[in-house]
Amino acid sequence: MSAGADIRTSPETHPLTWRLRGREAVTELADYEALDGYAALRLALTELSPGDVTQRVKDSNLRGRGGAGFPAGIKWSLVPMGADAPRQKYLVCNADEMEPGTFKDRLLLERLPHQLLEGMILTGYAIQASRGYIFLRGEYVLATQRLEQALTQARQAGYLGETILGSGWSFDLFVHTGAGRYICGEETALINSLEGRRANPRAKPPFPQIAGLWGKPTVVNNCETLNCIPAIVRHGAEWFKGLSQGRSPDSGTKLYGASGRVQRPGVWELPIGTTARELLEEHAGGMREGLALKAWLPGGASTDFLLPSHLDLAMDYDTIMKAGSRMGTGLMMAVDDRQSMVSVVRNLETFFARESCGWCTPCRDGLPWTVKLLSALERGEGELGDLEILAQIARQLGPGKTFCAHAPGAIEPLQSALKYFREEFERGIAAPPAAAING
């Protein structure tokens, strides 16, 4: 109980992970409750209206942690409310985590399952949802077991089901496990997949908040976003804003991480706006012995490369955007000086080509073409003009040219690698035959 008392007297600085101090996981309901668990839910259902909850989240300026940084409160406030609103409304947790280099949602799902449920029940209350689904990638086997157990416990305790805590509002939650394909993480593809269809994205508008799952208003939020909600409701918007400690105009903490050949790869909850240098040098302990940093991806495969000279930038949405990339999921990947950028980009584009849903031609045909060109360059068999073709494909797959953000995301690492490491790509072009040179 002592930790539970602590958070009431001195609001925590690590709202996402403080419950894990000294523990591997908090999977039992009783343990979670002893650590102030479901206190935010009790508070909301007894003292706050759904509109109050939404307002609190809006005021907190929580931005979506799935990659795009869209303000969560604004997303929720687009959902029709009141007597005329559809009776069926849905909340979906995006736990499809397949963005290469991203391993933050797994931590929350496996180790703090009740915190996600509490965040989802609060969000469901705010938008007056009738049901919620956790769209979980099928490979997260341990997370599936722990969430199913947590759901059973929450139902037994009356946190889910009919008229929750006597509020008159009823809500239930289900786990839906996927069967592969990265595109399921795109929110409209996810909705199609949840409906039992092929995961091709849908045209927007209409946005899911108006017409989503089974045509009904639907909010899709990332797992980490939903994990922020209990603490915001409990401690208020101003407290949440203060968590960034002036490092960024964005608010809260963020699960940051580092992978690649660094000393201590991992995930850490830190104030949003922490610099990439602090992540790499302090938390990850720098590059492995004998290696130097050559380039880095700020948050996933679908973000533009940055250079060592960018390390002092604050890892927040706007700062990284201004530097020509995106914070994305906030888990940086360090590319060391032994790696060939051509090979690295070939690996990335192979992933994107395989995972294209195939709906639109530029993406379906353009991405395999980049793989073909990059593979030739990698073997030193590239041809004059290949770099221009790559640049042209990159333009043709840019924002607005395809049905969803998969293709624009796919070309971000390609275009930035061509910008910063052009000579490496040029070196992959085969020397013209001697006869041609001599005339």
Partner: protein, 176 residues
């Protein structure tokens, strides 16, 4: 390097399954009906139903497709469309153990190439293939969210990482 050959049924398999017909076990039927109860529309259970059949039989035989369609009330062609879209629905028999090797960037940076080469050599198969003794199927998979422990792979439901190429043989011995 693709799972396509697993997603695409072959003519001979289709013929043999049609002759045999397809009967759900009681457990399968019960699990699928339970699944249907989670959704407003039974179609949503199509992926779950395919996974249930796969869980009990190792793969999804062709004759299961119309049977699932009938049980959840959607056309067989829609079930087939779903079955061929998702990479973890197997439309051909797989080995007793399925090895999924992460080939995404974080594992690529930490030694995927060497690990993949060791696996191919040890098993004598390429990605997408099953060993002649029916013990292992080797598949590529997207980032497994285990990037702090690359290179990573999954064998059945077990996650392993970092996996040294030299440790592959011993690791596989645990999966008879």
């Amino acid at each position: 390097m693709s799972t396509d050959n697993l997603s695409r049924p072959t003519a001979s398999l289709i013929a043999s399954d049609r002759r045999c017909g397809f009967v759900f076990t009681d457990a399968e039927r019960e699990a699928i009906e339970h699944e249907i109860g989670h959704y407003e529309d039974s179609r949503a259970a199509s992926i779950g139903a395919l996974k249930i059949v796969q869980e009990s039989r190792g793969w999804v035989p062709d004759a299961a497709i119309p049977a699932i369609g009938q049980l959840i009330g959607i056309p067989a062609s829609d079930v087939e469309g779903v079955a061929t879209f998702y990479s973890l629905i197997f439309r051909q028999p797989v080995g007793r153990h399925v090895i999924k090797v992460c080939d995404s960037i974080a594992c690529f940076l930490t030694g995927y190439d060497e690990l993949a080469a060791a696996l191919r050599a040890e098993l004598g198969v390429e990605f997408g293939q099953t060993t002649a003794d029916g013990r292992f199927t080797l598949l590529p998979i997207c980032c497994l969210g285990n990037c702090d422990k690359g290179p990573t792979l999954m064998i059945d439901d077990d996650l392993h990482g970092p996996v040294e190429p030299s440790g592959v043989r011993v690791l596989l011995e645990a999966y008879p």
